[in-house]
């Protein structure tokens, strides 16, 4: 089944390569999740949804019941009561425990996602935002990216690398095009050339601001399914913000290898020269 599926999916992917997944059903709800960390995010989302949903139904039921039962009627006076301290203690304590539990469990997952060192075999990919597009840098056959230094990021050197860095000679770059192998961890190195941008892919349950002057190396993920998605800038970055998107595909590993090979620079080509803007600000 899966052996048949891969070439089929590849075919479909090539045919529809310029079309992100358009949801025909459940437009009212979350898009499908393809990131390994997305399961926990969705799980906590549903836990909170159940807790708040049940509480909301309870609160609104009580409210409607009181509104109907205690509507003004002639001859029925209101009860003179200033409150009840036992009730105050109860309805203070219960929320404290619920909210603390949510905070503790949430932080555990947060730590798992953001504070744990990415696996050593993760594919490093650098993404540097600019008004209004994405500079992307992939490692070549050595699997290593040139070291990025935020202070060196400039118009001519969007990735802030040392041109002499041996790790960088086989790196290749794209503009606004990301391809990830399915099932392999990917570690992102995020930065920006000018203003704050944000790396946002709803199907990855992933949002991260990219603040100029810094390189963020803690974001990593593992795509669990193939597909074509859109990378969106989700931090207001100027007049072209609304269409600062990138193409993002998750493909089987062999297909990724083939794609990377095709992109690899000729030995002498400067890696920066491929930065040709494809997404230009709209007027």
């Amino acid at each position: 089944m899966s052996k048949l599926f891969i070439p089929l999916a590849t075919l479909l992917l090539t045919l529809s390569h310029s079309h992100a997944e358009i949801r025909q059903t459940s437009v009212w709800w979350l898009p499908r999740n393809v990131n390994m960390f997305g399961h926990e995010i969705d799980f906590i989302f549903y836990v909170i949804l159940w807790i708040t949903g049940i509480t909301a139904v309870a609160v609104f039921s009580v409210m409607i019941y009181f509104i109907v039962k205690y509507r003004a009627r002639p001859g029925v006076p209101a009860i003179h009561s200033h409150g009840n301290n036992t009730l105050e203690v109860i309805w203070t304590t219960i929320p404290v425990f619920i909210f603390l539990a949510l905070a503790i469990y949430g932080n555990e997952q947060w730590t798992r996602m953001r504070l744990r060192t990415p696996p050593a075999d993760a594919l490093p990919v650098a993404v540097v935002g600019e008004q209004f597009g994405w500079n992307v840098r992939y490692p070549g056959p050595d699997g290593k990216l040139a070291k990025m230094t935020a202070a060196k990021v400039s118009k001519e050197n969007p990735f802030g690398i040392d041109p002499q860095d041996p790790d960088g000679h086989d790196d290749f770059t794209t503009y606004g095009e990301l391809v990830f192998p399915v099932g392999r961890p990917v570690r992102l190195y995020l930065s920006s050339k000018d203003v704050i941008h944000a790396f946002y892919v709803p199907e990855f349950r992933l949002y991260q601001d990219m603040v100029p002057g810094r390189v963020y190396d803690f974001v990593w993920f593992k795509a669990e399914a193939t597909g074509y998605f859109q990378l969106a800038c989700n931090q207001l970055c100027g007049q072209g913000h609304y269409k600062m998107f990138g193409k993002l595909s998750v493909v089987p590993e062999p297909e990724y290898e083939a794609w990377a090979k095709g992109k690899a620079p000729a030995a002498t080509a400067s890696s920066e020269s491929s930065s040709t803007p494809v997404a230009v600000a709209g007027r």
Binding site: F99, G106, Y207, F218
Partner: protein, 588 residues
């Protein structure tokens, strides 16, 4: 408990000015009531403006002018061609700026704070009437300066109301150097107005309470405004400083926020949200206070758990200063710090929960009168619950990674700010309009206005949760630019239609508001049979408010006290021996 603050506040403080007459009365009056009305009229005007900006935004989102049609035309046939992406960015920036700084804050604090504080504490005026009037005019100037941005080269500020640097601080990035400068200057001037108001309120409430009016006999409206004034005093100067730094960065070559020259973009975010989060409570605490009073008046009950309500507000005030980082979970600040802010953010939900339960407790056993004011107050509670619950999703750091900066947050803060604050403002206007103008608002028109507003509000803002979960970013001029958002477009159009319905429903309110000034039924002193001091004087109260400084003998919520001929006891009603012996002990 009942400390005697000042023996004769009306004579002792702040009442050394003559009544202004004629046109002077409305231009340069030192009377807190006139200043309150000046704030009320001005910010209702800004409400119309901010609403119009919102409708333009919504139209662009439903029918984007940038959309490429199948026949190659740019723009939808029914789009508004003058909304280009830059103007769209200016529209949402100014919509939020107007609504926050020129509508909700001045309505709650400027209008009701000014009008109600002296009347509710039995004072003749504010402690510093001149500063009070200055505060109003600074507010007017701040609005004019902000809006002037629409008429300068480059247009109005377009960096969002949060104006994140370095987009906001480097002219080459934003293209709106002048507009952004005017925005920051407007924020600075607006801050001065807030600071002047805040220390005036604090001084007035501390020093000028009527004899017998101890802190724990204050109506919750006054408590809420008192706490809010402290928040203003501590938070607003930080924003003013940030605004000044932004002006320097834009115009005078400094680089506080520009990393290309050694500045630090996150510094802006920390400064902004150190103000910005207390600001959230600045815009909801007075609404909570006034809604509590309205709920008591119309369910004929003492507020349930008065002290719990007060301490919950104080807790919100304190915690409000240590949660600002939850706006920055995904900004790339220290990740451990995010975890810490996640905990404090969950904790601040507790006092809000306490308040909600106490509002339900107040309804329990009541004799509820469904006036327009009460309906709006009930809507406030219900909408605040929904807005509070959606906040929990974002307080959870992992879920925030998914929903941050999507329409989910747009839904959330509109449920709190419109569903919460604006419904409470409507409740308050319906309650205190008779005191302000001596005439009642029309109840039938009021109920039609309420029903339409309530329905359209929910139809407009609830689906925003869904488009947000569907992955729609906020602040994008054209959702159809994204393939994965095109399937959500019918929902966006539905939201826009509901927003138009919501906008036009407000015209009923304005019609009622202005018509009733002449044609409303005369109100009398105490049309709602309420207990607090403002209801002991004429409607509208004369200059100086109280002919004789009242003495207070009761708490603010003595409704339905057994053994009385009426179901309410005015705060200044001397206790009879009979009633005194039957006075129930406070529960617990």
């Amino acid at each position: 408990m009942s400390t005697i603050a000042a023996s004769h506040p009306a004579e002792a403080h702040g009442h050394g000015h003559e009544e202004a007459t004629g046109w002077k009365k409305y231009l340069w009056s030192l009377d807190h009531k006139i200043i309150g009305l000046q704030y009320l009229f001005t910010s209702l005007g800004f409400l119309l403006l901010g609403g119009a900006l919102a409708l333009l935004l919504r139209w662009q989102l439903a029918y984007p002018s940038t959309q490429v049609m199948p026949n190659g035309d740019v723009g939808n046939p029914i789009s508004l061609p003058f909304i280009n992406p830059q103007f769209y960015n200016a529209l949402f920036t100014m919509h939020a700026t107007v609504m926050v700084f020129l509508v909700v804050m001045p309505l709650l604090i400027g209008a009701f704070g000014n009008y109600l504080i002296p009347l509710k504490i039995g004072a003749g005026d504010m402690a510093f009437p001149l500063i009070n009037e200055l505060s109003y005019w600074f507010f007017v100037v701040s609005g004019a300066v902000m809006l002037a941005g629409f008429f300068v080269a480059g247009g109005a500020a377009a960096g969002g109301w949060t104006s994140y640097a370095p987009l906001s601080s480097v002219a080459a990035y934003n293209g709106t150097k002048m507009g952004q400068t005017l925005w920051a200057a407007g924020i600075f001037i607006n801050g001065l107005a807030s600071i002047m108001g805040a220390f005036n309120y604090i001084t007035t409430i501390v020093n000028m309470r009527a004899p017998g009016l101890g802190f724990f006999r204050l109506p919750l409206t006054v408590w809420a405004l008192f706490i809010t004034a402290f928040l203003l005093l501590l938070a607003v100067p930080v924003l003013s400083a940030a605004g000044a730094m932004l002006i320097l960065d834009l115009n005078f070559g400094t680089s506080f926020f520009n990393p290309a020259k050694g500045g630090q973009p996150l510094l802006w975010q920390h400064l902004f949200w150190f103000f910005g989060h207390p600001e959230v409570y600045i815009m909801i605490l007075p609404a909570m206070g006034m809604a509590s009073d309205v709920l008591c008046i119309f369910s004929r009950k003492p507020v349930f758990g008065y002290k719990a309500m007060v301490f919950a507000m104080i807790a919100i005030g304190f915690l409000g200063f240590i949660v600002w980082g939850h706006h920055m979970f995904v900004s790339g600040m220290n990740l451990v710090l995010s975890a810490a802010f996640g905990v404090s953010t969950m904790v601040i939900a507790v006092p809000s929960a306490i308040k909600t339960f106490n509002w339900l407790g107040t309804l329990w056993g009541g004799s509820i009168r469904f006036t327009t004011a009460m309906l709006n107050a009930l809507a406030f509670v219900a909408m605040f619950v929904i807005g509070g619950f959606s906040g929990i999703f974002m307080a959870s750091t992992p879920v925030n990674i998914f929903v941050h900066h999507t329409y989910f947050i747009v839904a959330h803060f509109h449920y709190v700010l419109f569903g919460g604050s604006i419904f409470a403002i409507f409740a308050s206007i319906y309650t205190w309009y008779p005191k302000m103008f001596g005439r009642m608002l029309d109840e039938t028109l009021g109920k039609i206005h309420f029903a339409l507003t309530f329905v359209f509000f929910n139809l407009c803002f609830f689906p925003m949760h869904n488009v947000g979960l569907g992955g729609m970013m906020r602040r994008i001029a054209d959702p159809t630019a994204y393939e994965h958002l095109r399937s959500l477009q019918p929902i966006n159009q539905f939201i826009t239609m509901s927003a138009i319905g919501l906008g036009f429903s407000q015209l009923i309110f304005f019609w009622n508001f202005f018509r009733s000034m002449k044609h409303g039924k005369p109100a009398g002193k105490n049309p709602w049979q309420a207990t607090t001091l403002e209801w002991t004087v004429d409607s509208p109260p004369g200059h100086g408010n109280f002919a004789v400084t009242p003495t207070v003998y009761h708490g603010a919520y003595e409704y339905s006290l057994p053994g009385h001929s009426r179901d309410f006891v005015m705060q200044n009603e001397p206790p009879t021996a009979d009633a005194g012996s039957r006075r129930p002990v406070h529960a617990g």
